[in-house]
Amino acid sequence: MELKIAVCIKSVPDPDYYDKITIDPKTKTLTRKGIPAIISPGDKHALEAALQFKTINGGIVTVISMAPPDAKKESYEALAMGADKAVLLSDRAFAGADTLATSYTLAQGLKRSGDFDLVLTGTESADGATSQVPPQLAESLGMAHLCNVQEFSLQTDGDIMATVKMDSAIGKYKIKLPALLAISRTANKPRYKTAMSIIKAKKKPLNIMGNETLQADTERIGQNGSPTWPGDITIPSLARHGQILGGSVEEIVEQLITKLRLAGASSVRKKEKSV
C-alpha cells in the first residue's frame, strides 16, 4: 500500500528582512507589511526528507500549512520542490493562534486530509522558534514522535529506524508508524526548484480549507484556543549587527581590519611579523 506522507510547512517573514519587522504594541503580533514571506527554512529540510523517503519507498507527499490566503505562494513553492498535493488551512478564525491552537488546527487538517503514515515537520520555525508544535501536534494526532531527527529509514517490518541528534550524543530509535518526525536542519540540503518543476506546480492540487469545511472546535482555534498571551514587549536595539566572517585566520583578520576601517576606526593596523 502506498505510504501517505504529510509535511507541515509554515509561512514566515523572510529572515533577510528581520531588521524591518516591527511589533504592533496593541496586538503584540509581528507587523509583516512589506516583508516577503518564505517557507520557514527548517521546514524545507522536512520536505526534502519526505521527498528522499518517497524516492526510496514510494508514496504520496502532501504539504499542509495554516496561514492567510497569500501563503498559496509558499504552497506552490513546496509543490515546485516536488510535493504531490498541498492543503492550506486558511480562515480568519484561525488567526492569532498560539502553538497549542496551531497544533490542534493542523491536526484537524491532517485528519480531514487523509490517514497519514508519517508526518514530518521542521524542528522549529524561523520566527517563533518555540519547537512546541511538533510534539503538541503528535499528541493531538495520537502519534509517537521524535525531534531533531538526522536520518531515518523504513525497515522491512514496517517500522522506522531513526537517528536523533542530541546535545552530546546520537540516539537510535525504532518507532512504529504512524509517527511524527521533526527533521534536523543538518539532515540534508533542500533541493532547488527548477524551471520545469515551477511550471508543473500549478497543475498539482492545492486544497484551501476554511473552518466551515474543517469543522474544528471554535473554542480551540485562533485566539479563542490560545492560552498564551504575551506580556509587555520591548524591542531591543539592533544598532549592533553581528556578522560571521569566513575563510582562513589570515583572511578573517584581513576582512576584520577592512570592516573596522570602513566603520571609521582610525588606529587599526596589522601587527607586523617579527623577523
Binding site: Y192, A195, I199, T258, A263
Partner: protein, 378 residues
Amino acid sequence: MFTEEQEMLRMSIREFVEAEVKPNAKEWDEKSYCPIELFPALGDMGILGTFVPEEYGGVGLGYIERSVCLEELARHSAGLAITVMAHQLCLGGILSYGTEAQKQKYLPDMCSGKKIGALSLTEPTGGSNFMGQTATGECKDGQWVINGRKCFITNAMLADIDLWTVVTGENEKGRAVLSAFLIDKGTQGHNPGRTEHKMGMRSSNTGDISCVNVELAPEQLLNGEGMGAKIALSTIQEVGRAGMSAINVGILRGCLEESVQFSKERIVYGRPLHKLVNIQFAIAENKLDYETAKLLTYRAADRKDKGLSCSCEFALAKYAATEGAIRAAKRTIDLMGGYGVINEYPIGRFLRDAISGSTAGGTSDVLKVVIAAETLKA
C-alpha cells in the same frame, strides 16, 4: 510586471546562484577559470534550455524567463552568464533553423548541459564587417570542405558543437553568399587555437578557432546553402543582444546593490555615507540606469515572446544596459573611494565585465546605426 511563476523562477535561480556561484565568482575571475562543471546543474535548473520546447529537452518558456536566468547569473558572475549566453546562440540557431534531425541530435544534450555550443562568426577582419568574412566552404564530391579562422569566439576551447558561417559563393551582384554549418568537436582539421587573456568576463573562455580542410557531410549544413547571413544576423540580433542586455541588467543590479550596501555601512564624519547628498545623487543615477535597462530589456523580450519585431528594441536595450553598466560601475567605484579599487569588493570586476561585454553582439555605435535605421523608416 512579472507573473507569479516568473517571480518564483527568479527566486529559485537566485537561491541557486547565491549558493553555487556567488561564493566562487571572485576566484573564477582571478584564475580566468570557466566553471563548465556547473553546466549539468544549469541544465537541471532549466537555465540552458529555458526557451526550447519540451520535445527537445527544454522547458518551453520564453525570452522573459531566459532574461531572468541570465540577469540572476550575471548579478554575481557575468563571465558564467556570457558562457551560457554564447551556448544559447548556437542552441538558438539550431532551434530556429535546424532540420528535425539536427534538433533531435543536438538540442536535448545542449539543454541538459551535456554538450556546450559556440557560434563562430567573427574573423580577424572584424565582427561588424560581417559580410566581409573570408572563411570558405566548397562542395567537393558531395562533402563540404571548410577553411578559415575565427577569433574572439566565446566557448572556443569548450564547445562540443561549433556553428560556423563561411562564404560559399557569390550572388549576381558579386556579394558574398554565406552558409552556416554545425561542426562537432573532434572533427579533423577543426582546431581551437589560443585562449585570449581578457580584461573582464574572465570566467568565460574566449579564443581562436581554425578550420583546415574540415570535411563535413551535407547533413551538417544548417537550413540550406546561402542562409548563413540570415541565421547569423537574426541569432545575433534576437538571441545575442537579448542575452547581453539581460547580463548587463544583472551587472547593473550588482552596482546598485553594492552602492546601497556600502553607503549604509561606511561611516564618514560620524554618519553613514548615504547621508551625503552627492552620494544620494550617485545612488539615484544607478537606480535610473538599472530601471531603464531592465524595462527596455524585458519589453524587448516580451515582444520576442509575442512574435513581434524586436531587433530595434533589443538594440535599444543592449545600448542602454551596456553603457549604463559601465557608467554605474565607474560611479560606484567613485562612491566607494579607495575601497572601490580593492578586489575584496566585486565592483572592480563589474566594471571590467561591463566594458568587456559591451562589444559582444554589436558595439554601441553599431547599435545606434540599427536604432537610427529603424527610427528613420517610420
